[in-house]
Amino acid sequence: MPEAGIPGPGLKGEGVTGRGISRRQVLMLAPLGAAAAAGVGFWSMLSGMGSGRFDPHDIHAPAVNRQVPDFDLPSQAPGTGFSSRQLAAQTSPVLVNFFASWCIPCVLEAQTLAGLGRVLPIWGIAYKDHADNAAGFVTRTGNPYARLAADSDGLSAIDWGVSGVPESFLVLPGGLIRWHVAGPLTPEIIDGGLMPVLRAAPR
């Protein structure tokens, strides 16, 4: 802030000098302090994004530790459809995977799912897909799905809080969603996120 045209000598006199300087110091330090606070904030956000502790795009936190929504979806060839009751009645954890034949990341994810399907049952839900296209996609990519349902109008997916495919939910016996990822499953996400949760899950 520019000091208004009065040179040093004008401010002489005990009280004025003391107050003037301290006020000026406050005015100089306030922006510095604000900048420092903002810097610490930004640094912690960025480092959190780097380490995966903070993800501004993780918009689906509400799904975790919730019951699966009510649904009863018809079969999608070559599998058999399922309902929320059948999902909750399982005695071991199940991975519910939303996918579509028109979704490019789903193609990449398919290889990962094929490996994962040997360890953990995967129940697939074809999201807003044509039955023939979905069946062709599943067959082509080696069908990792123990059961396969179709959500052709995508309304059940909204109940799950799905915003795009692929998305996966780990569902415990009783129907509790314990873990969730919005995006394709990768070996890193499986090892770093899914597997620790699965090991900790009650059997």
Partner: protein, 158 residues
């Protein structure tokens, strides 16, 4: 002067005319709309407060994304079923979290965000007062020695 004023008025009018179609909602497919105009207006009010989760910076009323269209449909189903605005937004928040609200609720996380206009105003007022006071400080009268030196400088010949 009169001419300038008239020009400004014309410019304003032009701006308003241009902005009007933009302000109207983006839902232009009559098949999506509810038959009851009051219900449709309510659905548009709710939709304007909900974020499209695909484009993330548009409301579901403005977005052309597939998911936004589905969410618009869901909102209209709930409106037609007679639910209140609050109930419908709560239904969305339950599934997608507060992220879906374009107008975030006041809580401990958003306190600073909501308080910022007031804080900025207070900061500005403080800075303005400080500047005003500094400017008002009058110079202390010159001592005899200073007065003499000033005279010497101004009129070196005397």
């Amino acid at each position: 002067m009169k001419a300038v004023r008239r020009l400004v008025a014309c410019l304003w009018l032009a701006c308003c005319v241009v902005a009007m179609p933009l302000a109207a909602g983006a839902v232009d497919d009559p098949q999506e709309m509810l038959a009851n105009p009051a219900q449709e207006a309510r659905a548009e009010t709710i939709g304007a407060q909900l974020r499209c989760l695909v484009c993330q910076n548009e409301s579901i009323e403005d977005s052309g994304a597939d998911l936004a269209r589905d969410l618009r449909h869901v909102v209209r189903v709930h409106v037609a079923a007679g639910e209140s605005n609050r109930q419908i937004i709560a239904w969305m928040v339950q599934r997608y979290g507060n992220f879906i609200r374009l107008r975030p609720p006041l809580n401990t996380v958003t306190l600073l965000l909501w308080a910022m206009p007031v804080l900025a105003l207070l900061g500005g007022a403080f800075a303005a007062t400080a500047a005003w006071r500094t400017r008002r400080t009058t110079a202390a009268p010159l001592t005899d020695a200073e007065q003499k030196r000033l005279s010497d400088l101004l009129e070196p010949g005397r």
